[in-house]
Symmetry: C2
Subunit: 207 residues, 2 copies
């Protein structure tokens, strides 16, 4: 299994390559990619070679071709349907966030248990009852779900999603979920970003 | 400047060390830390040695002492006051999230421009008008702020925060903000997590 830290690097490479594509850079070297992220060029070459991407000696990689390959490796050469469960504060903010659509993710359905919310419309999505979740998720062949529900409901809801055919879950509820291969759960904790900030505030200016 | 990817590794080390502390492991080796994250033990040793953490040959590191040192390096040996700007859907979810307090971050004040929201109370925080932001942020000596406002307001609000003494900003608005040393901005894009999921769904079972 490819370690999480490698996947995070690949995503950062893709973001950098896409920026360079916009700026019209025809070629990119491992050194340029590495410098943008504070990495060792050797590591960048190793990561890309693992996927069969070999640059030309001295010229590096063709930017457009590298972007295409990385998008394909990441599964971003196609669009993905996403289900969202729990349309409270966080869920409503995620439903309205334009970033998901821009990166190829279409939230196509949303579910909640609250009678006041079921039937309401946010953006162009009608909030459905949890009773309909399995039927809609399997009919639409949805492989990814976002959980923005209270932690007490997290395990039961994720079990139902996995049984209905979902393979990947983005879990915001503060309860650590884990499934065995081939299911994948990413447990999100936004305090990680605050911890990065305090690291910088503590260490900038030292050493 | 320490690269972002190194900081992210250190945070993951700390999380692993804290888990081992809870499990009562007295010693930890670089190999054990590395294996938990799919990393090369050499890299783990190099990262820790940069901060003067040298394990004993064959025995590794004392778990508790390593945890203490990592917390100190990350600036987590003290609590941090945080200001939140924009108490809409996302802001409300962040104000209620128990994870921040657990990791040492106290959101002590919140600001908004909407007359309907100013004066309201969420958790034990009264939503203040944006007119009072500079006064409260500098009086309370707040160094970190979270932006959960529309993108059109992001630049103007972050400039005001930096002038009022804030050093680190966690920006959720979809507009890329950048400041020069010593100010730090982390621009959050939650679609990164969805991209990790699609990578796994695409690559699990291959190779
Ligand atoms: N990981 C992070 O960094 C982070 C940050 C903020 C919030 N959160 C978490 O996200 C979750 C949502 O937060 P919020 O502020 O939006 O809460 P909220 O109470 O506003 O929303 C929760 C929603 O889930 C619905 N719900 C409850 N039980 C359900 C079930 N069994 N099935 C489907 N829907 C159900 C509720 O009706 C409500 O609409 C919480 O668990 C919170 O702790 C995590
Ligand atoms: N980065 C991500 O992954 C991600 C995910 C979800 C939402 N978002 C972004 O987070 C932001 C908030 O989203 P939301 O759904 O909570 O929106 P929202 O409209 O519900 O909330 C915005 C709040 O900001 C307030 N506001 C507007 N202008 C302001 C100003 N100049 N100063 C202070 N407050 C001001 C509004 O009164 C409102 O309360 C948006 O920019 C959205 O795109 C980002």
């Amino acid at each position: 299994r490819i370690p999480e830290v490698t996947v995070e690097r690949l995503i950062k490479y893709l973001r950098f390559v896409e920026e360079m594509e916009k700026d019209g850079m025809r070629n990119l070297t491992a050194k340029q990619i590495a410098e943008s992220l504070g990495l060792n060029p050797h590591l960048v070459r190793k990561d890309l070679a693992y996927f069969g991407q070999f640059g030309k000696r001295g010229k590096g990689y063709e930017t457009e071709k590298l972007g295409e390959t990385l998008r394909k490796i990441m599964g971003l050469d196609k669009r993905w349907k996403v289900a969202l469960v729990g349309v409270g504060n966080l869920g409503s903010a995620l439903l309205r966030y334009p970033g998901f659509k821009e990166r190829g993710f279409d939230v196509v359905c949303a579910f909640d248990t609250s009678p006041q919310k079921i039937g309401r419309q946010i953006e162009d999505i009608k909030i459905e009852s949890m009773d309909k979740m399995e039927e809609i998720v399997s009919k639409e062949n949805i492989k990814i779900a976002i959980l923005s529900i209270p932690k007490e409901a997290a395990e039961e809801v994720s079990d139902r999603l996995v049984k209905a055919g979902v393979m990947g879950i983005l879990n915001f509820a503060p309860r650590y979920l884990q499934y065995s291969y081939p299911f994948r759960v990413l447990n999100v904790d936004l305090s990680l970003y605050l911890e990065s900030l305090t690291f910088y505030l503590e260490n900038d200016g030292k050493k």
